[in-house]
Amino acid sequence: MAVSRYRSWGFSTSTAQRANRPSWRTDISQGIDAEAGTSLLPFGNGRSYGDSCLNSGGVLLDAASLDRFIAFDDVSGLLTAEAGVTLADILRLVVPHGWFLPVSPGTSYVTLGGAVANDVHGKNHHCDGTIGQYIHSFELVRSNGDVLTCSESDNVDLFAATIGGLGLTGFITKVCIQLISINSSEMDVRVDAFQGLQAFAELSAERKNDYQYTVAWLDCAASGAQFARGIFLSANHAPSGSLHSSSHVSKLSIPVPLPTWLLNTYSIRAFNKLYYYKQSQQHEKVFRQDYQPYFYPLDAIANWNRIYGARGFYQYQFVIPLDNLPVLESLLRDIVDSGMGSFLAVLKEFGDIESPGMLSFPRQGFCLALDFANRGVKTEQLIQRLDQQVMECGGAAYPAKDRLMSAKAFEQYFPKMGEFTSLIDPNFSSDFWERVSG
């Protein structure tokens, strides 16, 4: 067994971690080599922000080499691939044939297995739900040697536990997913500048009927009269046009972690101001844009997490019920007042489509995702304060982005935890799970 260096997206430094990297899916289905007393955890492409993708006391099963396609039916749009294939690989293959991912998270550099294990959502949650709805079936290998096909009709309990199950139910070797058809690889995007959360809620309510994709960027450094200003983006796949896949190769790269002093209240405020004014020039304009910059703008900059310097950063993403707009406002005030808000505050209204996953994070409400440079205790306290308010109003936080959630919070956010716990693979665990399972 090799010792390699692994890290999650929010940690700036990697840690030595024992890992196995199977070359073939049959290596796994012939038996997961579980040493007695050592826990296992599948690892995709390390794009989880917190500690749900790390297993410092045990062994990682790295899916990087399991990156093969198995079958693609370009008439029905059904794709079967190994779990280590990335969403970028899939788009490169299927877009020229007129197909697209049914759900796109903020980066195309996640693996298909990771997308299932986190039941990822995207800008179309209000009308299409999470990726879990489009998973036709997958193969799950358990440490006792069982090789199980899971779907809505086979091994239904494990199907529901594995979607959003954070890799704890076994190793996903291959996934069959239903794609959606498109007539163009471009997007029709409409831009609206807004001022205040009420204005956001009204825009969102209005746009969600006519647009498949809606999301807003929020300036979380602006205070006073400019508090809660933002840019609302609504989009649809263009009804006609050419079909070509984007390169999915980053043009820029941050070579090393940047000095931490570079990011301060002033530079962030200046950046947000600039971004707001640049975008608001487009107010009420509609334009056509390639799918790549629309869905995955940050993929253009390799290792963008190094912007946060040697101490890394936290991301905090939560959802609160729709009737809690004042709570959202108070949370945002806390963030603005703390001066710790950063570039990426993304606000989105989730719809009421329920995912098949037991531990799925998305549920109806307003969802806000934020980055915080790691400033030690101060940052942790802010996130814990936010967590407290989210708990009080019946919301939930997203495990894929978390490294602070308490066992109590986890139990409240995910009421099916008991049932889920009975279905996990007894030889699997993660740093996240060690913490929240108490």
Partner: protein
């Protein structure tokens, strides 16, 4: 872009071969994949087919020299043949057991020569073709940590140089590839130090495909290995023999 050609890859299920195959398929070439394990070969062939490539699979045991005539018969019509297969033997096991050393020399040198000898004659007859042979920087100078492997690869490099010289006038080309440290399942048990010297297979594959198309003679990949080996080769033996490299 080059015309569409038929490319044969020997040892097609190795990580490096898979990376090269994907790049060749991307360029529109048809592929003949040869490897020992039918199941793995099938898994990789499915991947290439989904990506739109035309793929033929041949199962073969390269150590079985008596099957080489028929194997060469099946791939002799290919425009280019890429030879990837090989093993990375455990040096101390090779020192203790002659069988281990013999197997390492057999797979990494004798068997490759057996195939190239036959292929060279066929290619020479028809007057065109490209033989791409993966050797190693380990063959440039004997070191105590891996000299059995190094011997096989060094001998292979010499063989390729001779073959290239012989075939130059007949329009057949030979490329000797000398990769450094590649992070693959074959090297999974090794500690990846010094880290900057280790690269993924796709980085090396990119260089190989480019060098093959450019009819380059010897390729060190990544490029800095040429510099490193230049230094290593010029260390005087009285000093070198005392080093732990």
């Amino acid at each position: 872009m080059a015309d569409q050609q038929q490319m044969a890859l020997l040892g097609a299920t190795s990580a490096l071969a898979q990376a090269v195959a994907r790049r060749l398929a991307d360029e529109g070439h048809s592929l003949t994949l040869v490897a020992r394990n039918e199941e793995k070969l099938g898994q990789f062939a499915d991947d290439l087919r989904v990506r739109g490539a035309s793929v033929t699979c041949i199962t073969a045991d390269f150590d079985a020299l008596d099957t080489h005539d028929s194997l060469v018969e099946q791939i002799a019509d290919c425009d280019e043949v890429f030879c990837f297969y090989g093993t990375l033997p455990d040096q101390s096991a090779c020192e203790q057991n002659w069988t281990d050393a013999h197997n390492a020399l057999q797979t990494n040198f004798i068997s490759v020569v057996s195939l190239l000898n036959r292929l060279a004659n066929r290619f020479e007859q028809r007057g065109h073709g490209n033989l791409v042979v993966v050797s190693s920087v380990a063959g440039d100078r004997g070191r105590k940590s891996n000299y059995i492997y190094g011997t096989a690869k060094g001998a292979l490099s010499i063989y390729c140089a001779g073959l290239r010289n012989r075939l130059a006038s007949s329009g057949v080309h030979v490329l000797t590839v000398k990769p450094g440290f590649i992070d693959t399942p074959m090297t999974a048990h090794l500690e990846k130090k010094p880290a900057p010297l280790w690269v993924g297979p796709d980085r090396v594959a990119k260089d190989i495909v480019k060098a093959a198309a450019a009819r380059k003679n010897v390729l060190y990949t990544p490029w800095f290995w040429q510099l490193i080996l230049l230094i290593i080769q010029h260390i005087p033996e009285p000093i070198f023999k005392k080093l732990s490299l």
